[in-house]
């Protein structure tokens, strides 16, 4: 397959169309807009079969997706920032109802002060919503994660969110290979007719009131099923890579994490999303002068790959690059990594970078790695 030059938004929209979704519903917000504009253009131009429901708000768009998914239809939406927050209650309902929806979050900061650029504040506000959450390193990863998302959502009855850094990836053009319809057909079965779907011919109730005993069971099951999704994500990832004829392209990686650099590295940069390419570049430069630096990419944020993170960070210095903070506490990524490496002999340095679209540079990372002392608490890079 020959690569073509596409921006992230176009590539995601074209992939969603090839995934044969039945319903797309969205409300525009920067930097997600170009994704849903492209989907609307495909529909208007007769190149798509899905129904495009223009919603009056993100709350409505997510609700349309919920209704479609509950009726057994493959559904899609995308949002960012304040829009994602406005979807919040529906996102919890989608996972609680165990509906297989898929959405893209074109990650952006949260107001106030208002700022349209990238960081991970938006998704972190929804980190406990019970969704599988992927982070894309580049637009090729984003495309592949959208394909995996529908497979996993429908197999596990769990909603899946793909986090794609706003502007940095959504507005960036690079050579990309779109999956063919034939490859998708091989990988993704038709949406199974499930007993858990609303059908006017056979009326049932879903999402009704439950007491503490049943509620406890639902929450526990959702937690256990998300944790158990890790191996499923890896199986799906392997199968998709093999189907595309690219097994072994990234030997120290799977659907959950990827390791870049020498295995005997002394310092490991830990991060998620589009900053990974810059971190790899910094690590490669530093390693040319014998610095022994590696990069651990977290591709799957929920379920969090605790065991793998512990295995790769044991007895090393880990510098965690957070693109969101949790005022008054440790940043979200730092929390999980710190929990993962309990008793593993890991020295942790917490950094916050790229907030509100701040540029993260190789130079900044090199300086950070070379610092001889680190302050207690969080080091803000700017």
């Amino acid at each position: 397959m020959k690569p073509q030059l596409l921006n992230g938004s176009e590539a995601i929209a074209l992939t969603i169309n090839r995934l044969k979704v039945g319903v797309v519903s969205a409300y525009p917000i920067t930097p997600q807009t170009k994704i849903v504009e492209k989907l609307a253009a495909l529909r208007a131009g007769g190149q798509a079969d899905f129904e495009f429901v223009r919603a009056e708000s993100e709350l409505a768009a997510a609700s349309v997706v919920l209704g479609a998914a509950a009726s057994g239809v493959r559904a899609y939406t995308a949002s960012s920032s304040q829009g994602l927050l406005m979807m919040a209650e529906v996102l919890y309902n989608l996972s609680g109802l165990r509906l297989p929806a898929v959405m893209t979050c074109a990650n952006r900061s949260l107001s106030a002060p208002i700022n349209i650029w990238n960081d991970h504040s938006d998704v972190m506000a929804l980190r406990d919503a019970g969704w599988i959450n992927f982070f894309a390193e580049d637009n090729q990863a984003a495309i592949d994660q959208h394909v995996l998302a529908y497979y996993l959502a429908e197999k596990l009855s769990l909603p899946v969110m793909i986090n794609v850094d706003g502007f940095i990836l959504t507005h960036l053009s690079e050579p990309l290979i779109l999956p063919t319809t034939a490859a998708i057909k091989k990988f993704l079965p038709n949406l199974p007719a499930s007993a858990n779907r609303l059908d006017p011919a056979s009326p049932t109730t879903t999402g009704h009131l439950v007491g503490p005993t049943d509620f406890y069971r639902f929450r526990q099951k959702l937690d256990q099923d998300l944790l158990a999704a890790g191996p499923e994500i890896n199986l799906a990832y392997d199968r998709w890579q093999r189907l595309l004829g690219r097994p072994g392209a990234r030997p120290l990686g799977n659907g959950l994490i990827e390791w870049h650099g020498p295995r005997q590295a002394k310092t490991v940069l830990v991060a998620m999303g589009s900053v990974i390419g810059t971190l790899k570049t910094a690590a490669d430069e530093l390693n040319r002068s014998n610095q022994k630096i590696a990069v651990l990419q977290i591709k799957t944020w929920r379920p969090f790959p605790y065991d793998l993170v512990k295995k790769f960070l044991a007895k090393k210095q880990a510098i965690i690059i957070n693109k969101a903070v949790s005022p008054g506490a440790l940043p979200p990524l730092s929390c999980e990594v710190a929990a993962a490496v309990t008793n593993a002999g890991t020295k942790i340095i917490h950094a916050a970078a790229g907030l509100g679209g701040g540029d993260i540079t190789v130079e900044q990372i090199s300086r950070l790695v070379k610092r001889s002392t680190h302050p207690a608490g969080i080091l803000y890079l700017n």
Partner: protein
């Protein structure tokens, strides 16, 4: 790797210019990465396009602050918005659309005269002036050939009318054929 920064004001087609150059270079067999940097999203605000070209895949994602080549399609950027223009006075080669003389531009930018080239799209090109500059750029820096550029324009402007596409193709050819000063 070659790094190119393109500067203009909102509405002048900097994003389109960046994407068309990326497509042309991609067609010429290079690995490319192109992305915009927006200020507040409104007409007249500074807009930057970044373009990286290499023989191997490009993974770095940071903005370009020490470009090999700087394109400025409106010299008002050098006064009102000088702080937006990031360059390396020791190495960045500049192509500026300007009626001012090189000495003045050299003073405004703090770079040696010998790194500056000037192009002047004819006023009657209107909205197609950015494509005139595209022609000048590929000729001056060898990013692609004119045929690569023509195909890139046809692809990137596919949703425009045939008349608009033709006007842009002509502007690109004119830019390609007009020497810089």
């Amino acid at each position: 790797m070659r790094e190119i920064s393109l500067y203009g004001l909102g509405g002048q087609g900097i994003v389109t210019l960046t994407n068309i150059l990326a497509e042309a270079a991609f067609r010429a067999g290079q690995k490319v990465q192109a992305f915009p940097l927006f200020g507040p999203e409104r007409t007249g605000a500074p807009v930057t396009g970044f373009l990286r070209l290499d023989q191997k895949p490009i993974i770095i994602r940071q903005q370009i602050t020490k470009p090999d080549i700087v394109i400025i399609i409106d010299d008002r950027l050098l006064t009102a918005h000088r702080s937006y223009v990031k360059l390396d006075p020791a190495k960045s080669r500049l192509l500026i659309n300007s009626r001012q003389d090189k000495k003045m531009l050299s003073t405004l930018l703090g770079v040696p005269v010998k790194l500056i080239q000037i192009c002047q799209p004819p006023a009657d090109l209107g909205q197609a002036a950015n494509l005139f500059v595209a022609g000048t750029i590929i000729k001056t820096y060898g990013l692609a050939n004119l045929n690569n550029l023509r195909l890139a324009i046809r692809q990137q402007l596919a949703d425009k009318t045939p008349a608009v596409i033709e006007k842009n193709l002509q502007a690109a050819r004119l830019g390609y054929e007009t020497p810089t000063t």
